[in-house]
Amino acid sequence: MRPLFALIKREFTAYFLSPVAYVTLAVFLLVTGHLFYLVLTGLTKPGSSGIEYPMQALLGDEKFWLVFLFIPPLLTMRLLAEERGTGTLESLLTSPIRDWQVVAGKFIGACLFYFVLWLPTLLYVPILTDMTFPGWNPKTWSFGIDPYPVLTSYLGVLLAGGMFLGIGLFVSSLVKSQLVAAMISMVVSLVFVLAAFWRPDLDSGSLTYRLIYFISVPEHFRRDFSRGIIDSRHLILYGSITLFTLFLTVRSLESRRLRA
């Protein structure tokens, strides 16, 4: 297990040695910060135009997913494409580490950075849920608004993120250029986001809508996660696509040894 931990550590710290990480963090905070501001304005507005579910306004919105689309590819593009491009893959694959450990190490490293990306947004939670802290004892804390939609939203965000990172990692194993890796993984990820943009034109009872609902991540958040519902279909989709792309990445590394 020691080689795996060494690799996770290196992949995670490598993010902080390049400007990409800081730019991603800044852009991401800017976008979530702006959405937070919009939600607060909506929540504090008097009258009937307020917001029913705060998390829905944050994560159920297509605008958020349009920006989010760029984040996982930026995190995964360098993972394997860079190593192939500069040739360091050779020293990595000739050290005593199994291919699945290489893939797992890189994936976990990327996931850890993705968690860090979301970490600052936890500051919004006490405000969004109208939390009161009378003392240090957690039992005395109370929420003005139901806190469970927040929990389910974070669960959804972490698992959906894993899926997008898995897709990005697989694409990164196929090409040598980081730019190409980022662009292809964005196009593939678009499949899981795009459908939400058609929603206004679709009859929500139609077969087409019910079919695209299965793979449309923003819809999962708008209808379920942000309202405190955990629908196992979504979790199974995210989990199975993550595992499948990781499996394909291991295979892709193996085939690299056979070809050239």
Partner: protein, 240 residues
């Protein structure tokens, strides 16, 4: 220590290595010679486990590199051609990472790191970013990495390529020193290097072994010609 039997490697339709067989007994330093594109790097990559051979087998210290890759790779210190490194890491960070990959515990790691930093003259630059190092120093970092886990077998692909004469002399001295403890397979274009550092030569041409033996044997067989003449004659490039 190294046993290669009938190794064949295809790149698509092109056969880069065509049935290479040789054996390197323990404690030998073998110069692996051949013109560009003869299949040296491909053979070495198959041995190090970066490529899987199309057919044939290779064993390092008794472990098959295809069926028991992890244990075979533990026996090898491999330095790839042109020595790719992560430019954004410091020398010590890089070596620590590599030590982790090779499964060294922290106590062992500290001991080995001191040793390789000393041995490869990296003490002065150990805090420097790898990306800011000159070619010669980078080459030494690669060598330090190969030595890190104290493997019985060293496979070095052109360790002196791109170095200046002083650095070549230093590296050669180091190789000779290391040759006393490690079994070594080193590829090079500089023939005088083989004469100074190695005791056995393997000449490979168009993916096949054309000469294999100790330096004296090979010289005697070719009527005491210089290694350069032998090389040119065997690789069919005379008169060019």
């Amino acid at each position: 220590m190294i046993v290669v039997e009938n190794l064949v490697k295809y790149y698509g339709e092109y056969q880069a290595v065509r049935g290479v067989s040789f054996e390197v007994p323990k404690g030998r330093v073998v110069g692996f010679l051949g013109p560009n594109g003869a299949g040296k790097s491909t053979t070495m990559r198959c041995l190090a486990g970066f490529l899987t051979a199309s057919s044939g087998s290779a064993r390092i210290a008794g472990y098959d590199v295809f069926s028991d890759p992890i244990r075979a790779r533990r026996q090898i210190g491999y330095m790839p051609e042109s020595c790719p490194l992560y430019p954004e890491m410091r020398v010590t960070e890089y070596l620590k990472f590599r030590a982790g990959l090779k499964g060294l515990g922290w106590r062992e790691r500290r001991k080995r790191m001191d040793y390789v930093l000393e041995k490869c003259w990296l003490k002065d630059v150990k805090r420097q970013l790898v990306g800011t190092l000159s070619k010669g120093y980078r080459q030494r970092v690669g060598l330090a990495d190969a030595l890190l886990a104290d493997p019985p077998v060293l496979i070095l692909d052109e360790p002196t390529a791109g170095l200046d004469p002083t650095q070549i002399r230093e590296t050669r001295k180091l190789i000779r020193e290391l040759g006393q403890e490690h079994t070594m397979l080193l590829s090079t274009h500089i023939l005088s290097e083989v004469e100074m550092a190695a005791d056995t030569v393997i000449i490979i041409y168009q993916g096949q072994v054309v000469e294999n033996g100790s330096l004296e044997e090979v010289r005697k067989k070719h009527k005491n010609q210089s290694l350069e003449d032998i090389f040119v004659r065997l690789t069919g490039q005379e008169g060019i």
